[in-house]
């Protein structure tokens, strides 16, 4: 799934063929696949008692996906808002069984940028022993939307997670919470790319290294454009002899925007190694002028610098 320079139509087309869970406002379409149990979360909540361990409250809408056999295509889900003032409150549970290697793409988006929608998503993703997940999560919202996303990844022994979050267009308000619980020898690599345009954004990510030799890397890239305010807290908590690194970088492209990044390390095991780096800076005038002397106008030059920054 290509994430860069994707517009809404391309996103729809890209997802149209292989989407196993598709939700428009509150209408749901499900495509059954061999080796995967997929159903609305409410149905699963009634059917499987163990789901109560993950969610205290009875869920309203959202999906339950349980991958039980190896599959050779990426699992795709798409949740969109296409009417005005729709409020989605989603609860999603995604379980990958032992030893499976899965790729998944999720898009959460609005069909138009003036629908004033609300999208609230709680999600738990469980990677059983020795499994791996390469997960791409894309958001594309409108100027008046409010979005809150709270995802928790539970990594059992020796499982591997590679997660990338990217927002193509930011909503008016975005609250993005990501939590990773890592057991023995599991590893997580989180890449979170945020482009804020005229937005208020709160980021909160935590990686808990709970098992021996667990590893966690967080690469946070945030760009503040056109009166955007971003607050980001990134935490790495070593409760066992694991390794981890936080890399938080922010780029401001105008005088009205603000970025506040707080990397936090907590070490509770003397054999753990955790490190961090953080920087926030304005866009370089020299780089801007350089690209303008290559014929790009100011907006094109900023877009290219931002694209490069998010690639780092």
């Amino acid at each position: 799934m290509v994430m860069k320079n994707v517009n809404s139509a391309q996103l729809n087309r890209a997802f149209s063929q292989k989407v196993i869970y598709f939700q428009k406002d509150h209408y749901v379409e499900i495509k059954k696949e061999n080796g995967i149990i997929i159903m609305p979360i409410l149905e699963a909540f009634k059917k499987y008692k163990f789901i109560k361990e993950f969610f205290r409250r009875k869920p309203e809408e959202g999906y339950f996906i349980w991958v039980k056999k190896q599959i050779d295509f990426p699992l795709e889900t798409c949740i969109s808002i296409c009417s005005t003032k729709v409020s989605q409150i989603l609860t999603n549970l995604f379980i990958i069984e032992k030893g499976l290697k899965i790729k998944a793409n999720t898009a959460c988006m609005t069909e138009k940028d003036n629908l004033t929608g609300t999208h609230i998503a709680y999600g738990k993703i469980v990677l059983k022993e020795n499994s791996s997940l390469e997960y791409s999560h894309i958001h594309k919202w409108g100027n008046n939307d409010e979005v809150s996303s709270d995802y928790e990844f539970i990594l059992e022994e020796s499982s591997r997670l590679s997660y990338s979050y990217s927002n193509l267009f930011s909503p008016k308000i975005l609250n993005l919470k990501t939590k990773v619980i890592s057991r023995n020898r599991s590893s997580s690599d989180l890449k979170i790319n945020i482009k804020g345009i005229n937005s208020k954004i709160n980021l909160d990510d935590s990686v808990f290294l709970k098992g021996k030799d667990a590893q966690g890397i967080v690469r946070l890239r945030v760009v503040g454009r056109e009166n955007t305010h971003i607050k980001g807290a990134s935490r790495l908590i070593a409760e066992a002899a694991g390794k981890g690194h936080l890399d938080c970088q922010g780029l401001l492209t105008d005088k009205k925007s603000e970025i506040s990044l707080i990397p936090e390390l907590t070490c509770r095991d003397k054999n753990a190694q955790i490190t961090h780096e953080a920087s926030v800076g304005r866009i370089s005038e020299q780089e801007l002028t350089y690209l303008r002397t290559r014929g790009l106008n100011e907006k094109e030059a900023i877009n290219l610098i931002v694209l490069g920054f998010l690639n780092l």
């Binding site: 005038e285 780089e287 002028t289 690209l291 002397t293 014929g295 106008n297 094109e300 290219l304 780092l312």
Partner: protein, 232 residues
């Protein structure tokens, strides 16, 4: 298209750097600009390209039929002006091939520096590699007039010869005007400028057709003597 710089006075960081520069480059001409450090050569180059760091306080820059004194850099580039930077900045996360796709409407054949295409723009490049990268970008722009700001610094003699050959074949022989800003004489031996200008303390103090004579004078007496002896 001819470039005409008339009595140009420019400030940078509140300091007067150019103090009345007059320069004319006819279409298809190759000219050189020499001068001691901090004499204003790079400031002139950047002012011609419209770098907003440099404020024009007096004078005009004309390119063809246009008065471009207040044009944005990109508008000047669209008209056919271009500048190979002396110290180009890095554009992290962007490969040279990506940049070329953005800036060029027509692909060019690259004989030198193919290995740079998949590297990030100017990141971790040697001095010589940066110059090759600049040259590739300039060729991609299909310009009418190019200012090379010390394209020869950091190049060994073989690379210098190669670069000079490319400039000659792809630009000079195709009628593109060239202004070579240099400290060293060797590139002039390869490209043989029609006119050599000497800049001292923010002004062009002499112009000379015979670049070898200029180089001899500078070597023997320095730039100040050149000001007194070689002006004609």
């Amino acid at each position: 298209m001819d470039l005409l710089v008339k009595n140009l006075k420019v400030k940078a960081d509140n300091k007067k750097v150019l103090k009345g520069v007059n320069l004319e480059i006819k279409s298809g001409q190759v000219q050189a600009l020499l001068g001691p450090n901090a004499s204003g050569k790079s400031t002139l180059a950047h002012s011609i390209l419209g770098n907003p760091r440099y404020k024009v306080i007096c004078g005009k820059i004309l390119f063809g039929k246009y008065d471009i004194t207040n044009f944005t850099p990109e508008k000047r580039v669209k008209l056919g002006l271009s500048l190979a930077w002396q110290n180009p900045p890095t554009i992290k996360g962007i490969k040279l091939s990506q940049l070329l796709k953005k800036i060029s409407y027509k692909e060019i054949e690259i004989s030198e520096g193919k290995e740079l295409l998949e590297r990030e723009v100017n990141l971790g490049l040697s001095g010589g590699e940066k110059k090759i990268s600049e040259l590739i970008q300039i060729l991609s722009l299909h310009p009418k007039l190019v200012i090379f700001d010390e394209i020869d610094s950091g190049l060994d003699i073989k690379k210098l010869e190669k670069v000079s050959k490319i400039i000659k074949k792809e630009l000079a022989e195709k009628g593109v005007s060239i202004l070579l800003i240099t400290h060293l004489g060797q590139i002039l031996n390869f490209l043989k400028p029609d006119l050599t200008n000497i800049m001292v303390d923010g002004k062009i103090v002499c112009k000379q057709k015979d670049f070898k004579k200029v180089l001899r004078t500078i070597k023997k007496y320095g730039y100040e003597k050149c000001k007194q002896r070689a002006v004609k």
